[in-house]
Amino acid sequence: MVEIQSKYLDEKLDQVRAMDFLQYRSGDLPTWCPGCGYFGIMDAFYKACRQMELKHENICTVSGIGCSGRTPIFINSYGFHTLHGRSIPVASGLKLARPDLTVFAVAGDGDALGIGGGHLPHVARKNIDITFILFDNSIYGLTKGQSSSTTPYEMKTNSHPVGNPDSPLNPIRLALSYGASFVARGYAGDPEGMKEVIMEGTKHPGFSFIQILTPCVTFDKSNRTWKNLKENVHPLRMSPEADNMETAMRAAENQPFGVGVFFKDKDRRSYQDILDGLNA
């Protein structure tokens, strides 16, 4: 990670010190690069916790490895920084062990779709009640700019200097086809919108998949930049009911910059609920 200017942070801190939602912020200052989209995600997260009035000690955030992996240390709640790709299994075990806790799992695009890609289908089909936030900057940030599973075809990266030969995954389409019962997208430049989907995902009893489009300002100068995102992001153009899989799939395909809820299955029972039913 790139060195951060303490002056910048001081100013930023002053600006927001008065704000109430900052009680969810830990005493540790984020070590992310100035301008990184992750700051926006954190803001939305704090605000969502505030609005839902979650008790600090009942929140658990489980992360993998990457710039996104540091997230829990910046939250004033319980947190577990685990292994590259493994936030989902750990969060699943935690939630089944402690249904009383509100469990978040966070991961980078490399974390969740590359090394940990094998866990996603199963947590989705089991419908374990965790809220999963994908910090999708379409690059490996922490290891400094190699191609990830969402890096566009032909984009030049540090691991593919003449162009990425691999085609990117479409995370929303994957989540839908894996059977996730809540699928949404947010944009790091829109904390209010992100707050809304995080809250809705948290309240959803089952696995919630939330992709956040976010820029890595240090290692991606051409693709998912603030400029490109600002120009392209728009609210999803589909029914807000979001209860139709076909529509959701089409939107996943045709609206790569659409933000909002793609799909939710209100009737689907959570894993715990199913187990309780089977063992009753």
Partner: protein, 586 residues
């Protein structure tokens, strides 16, 4: 008093009731007050007509090993039994089908291959089964009837054991089996002229309380339930699968949750997640699965989260030999993964100690906030013993978490430095205990800290904690010395320990001055006791079921001298006879 010590093998092909006949024999002999140890071998391929052997040792005194060669071979299937003859003692007894349903091809009769010293009895197994039940299925029961008659076992008592075995089946199944047994018994009494001298008659055994007839996997599962296990995650693999299957039935009734995961990485990940959540959690696997779990073994140790992995060893490396026993994961259990990574390793030495090791493992993991690996092997997982009902763990074994005091919570440090290395652990949900766990090197508050001083201090803390575990370790089992010194000291671990202790006891009777040592605790190892023991022995012998002598390498490093190694990777459990032969040579 007359002593009984006999090994009976039943050999057939899959589907001939070989294993269930062995089970009934064990059940009956146990009900008569005998010690039993039985072990089945069957093909890795589930379908087809592979060879099955039910091996049962029966004794009127304590036994610790399965016995190597058989005294009696019951051939349900001639083809397979021909290859089993090499495991029959010289002068042993062979029971075979004298009127098989299909005539043998040339050279395929077991009788023709038996050593001339063998005493053989032909019993028309197929014909009698047909007579008793109208089909051939009861040949195994006819054979049991034959040995019951030959060796003067209680006709009615035996039928009770058969009824108990099939209690949940339809009446017609029970009747067919019982009638086949009786047919075999009566025919043998009427037609067979006894040529051997073996009999169970005239043995008087102390009446004993009800015994459990059980294997290691069943005991691990039962112990986990009794020790307050609340979460199990796993992925099926021989020979550990049965643990998951038992728990999937039982755990919900104990208020716990079972999760079948997509792979072993996810299984141990979920166990670590549940352990982090403050409940007792474990998984069970074998070599290939343990290999996948390696990355989480490091995280459990580094982030100080309780986790228990049962590794039932099988032939390795890689997929290896799924249905053969081996002790070749010693190094993996102690050293798998990267970095300086102190974890706890326990290896039960017999069936009964599978229970105690599981209870202890869950306790140590919780109290010391670390990874505990429990090493079973195919033999311990599957061999059946009759044992006393284990004593359930008391409250001090069930509530082991070192909770933070109010004082601690005023300024809570998750990784606080302490004398014994144990930092009080606030469970998520505890107000005031908010903390950050990480697999990165960290300071007392869990914040990443890459400084040389910090890394050293935390490494010291983890090793201090590891050393503290030894204070709660079960003491090594050390035999009496005849005088101050022994010519041969046998040091053993895991499932080979029983054979080693038995070999030493027999050797002493033969006039060999020997002593034996075994420890359930493998890591941290009771090095001081080992050094003291070795110091009193002129020669050291270490028998184990791996090629390299993995434990021997460890022991040599501690006692700083060469040891004699005895290594087998035949897939058979260690036999006392193997060790004795080596001792006689030394």
């Amino acid at each position: 008093m007359k002593d009984i010590n006999i090994v009976i093998e039943i050999c057939g092909s899959a589907g001939e009731g070989t294993i269930s006949a062995g089970e009934i024999l064990s059940r009956f002999m146990s009900s008569q007050g005998y010690e039993i140890m039985s072990f089945d071998s069957y093909p890795a391929e589930i379908r087809g007509f592979g060879k099955c052997v039910a091996h049962t040792r029966i004794s009127s005194s304590v036994i610790n090993s399965p016995g190597k060669l058989a005294d009696v071979l019951i051939a349900l299937n001639d083809g397979h039994s021909i290859s089993q003859l090499s495991a029959l003692k010289k002068g042993g007894i062979l029971i075979y089908d004298s009127q098989p349903a299909k005539p043998h091809e040339e050279d395929k009769s077991v009788l023709g291959w038996a050593d001339p010293s063998v005493v053989s009895y032909g019993v028309p197994l197929a014909m009698l089964a047909q007579k008793a039940a109208g089909n051939l299925r009861g040949r195994n029961m006819v054979a049991l009837g034959a040995i019951a008659a030959l060796f003067d076992l209680d006709r009615e008592g035996f039928t009770d054991s058969i009824k108990a075995r099939y209690a949940k089946k339809k009446q017609i199944v029970i009747d067919s089996n019982v009638n086949s047994f009786l047919e075999g018994f009566d025919w043998t009494k009427d037609h067979i002229e006894k040529k051997d001298t073996f009999t169970f008659d005239g043995v008087s055994l102390e009446p004993r309380g009800e015994k459990l007839i059980i294997n290691g996997n069943q005991l691990v599962a039962q112990a986990a339930l009794d020790a307050d296990l609340k979460f199990y995650a796993g992925y099926p693999i021989t020979p550990a699968t049965k643990i998951m299957e038992i728990l999937s039935k039982e755990l919900p009734g104990y208020g716990g949750t079972l999760l079948q995961t997509e792979d072993e990485i996810s299984a141990i990940g979920a166990v670590v997640g549940a352990g982090y959540g403050g409940i007792r959690a474990m998984t069970a696997t074998s070599g290939p699965g343990f290999a996948l779990m390696t990355e989480f073994t490091g995280l459990s140790v580094m982030a100080e989260v309780p986790a228990v992995i049962v590794d039932s060893q099988r032939g390795g490396p890689s997929t290896g030999i799924p249905t053969k026993t081996e002790q070749s994961d010693f190094n993996a259990a102690l050293y798998s993964g990267t970095g300086d990574c102190p974890r706890v390793v326990l290896a039960p030495t017999d069936t009964a100690s599978c229970y105690d090791a599981t209870v202890l493992g869950l306790y140590l993991a919780e109290k010391y906030q670390t990874l505990v690996v429990i090493l079973l092997d195919f033999f311990l997982s599957n061999s059946i013993r009759n044992i006393d009902t284990p004593k359930k763990p008391g409250p001090q074994m069930l509530n082991a978490n070192v909770n933070p005091t109010e004082e601690d919570l005023k300024d809570y440090k998750r990784y606080k430095f302490t004398d014994d290395g144990i930092s009080p652990r606030a469970i998520p949900g505890t107000p005031g205990g908010i903390s950050f766990y990480t697999g990165l090197e960290h300071d007392e508050r869990g914040r990443p800290d890459y400084s040389d001083k910090g890394h050293l201090a935390m490494s010291e803390k983890r090793y201090r904690k590891h050393a503290s575990v030894l204070k709660e370790a079960p003491a090594p089992v050390i035999s009496d010395f005849d005088g101050d010194r022994a010519d041969i000291g046998v040091i053993s671990w895991g499932s080979s320990a029983g054979a080693a202790h038995e070999a030493v006891a027999t050797a002493k009777k033969e006039g060999i001055n020997a002593a034996s040592f075994s420890s359930v605790m493998l890591y941290p190892f009771p090095d001081e006791a080992l050094i003291e023991f070795a110091g009193r022995c002129d020669n050291i012998l270490i028998p184990e079921l791996n090629f390299q002598g993995q434990f021997a390498d460890y022991a040599q490093g501690v006692i700083k001298r060469e040891v004699t190694r005895l290594n087998f990777i035949t897939g058979r459990p260690m036999a006392a006879e193997d060790i004795l032969d080596k001792m006689r040579e030394m």
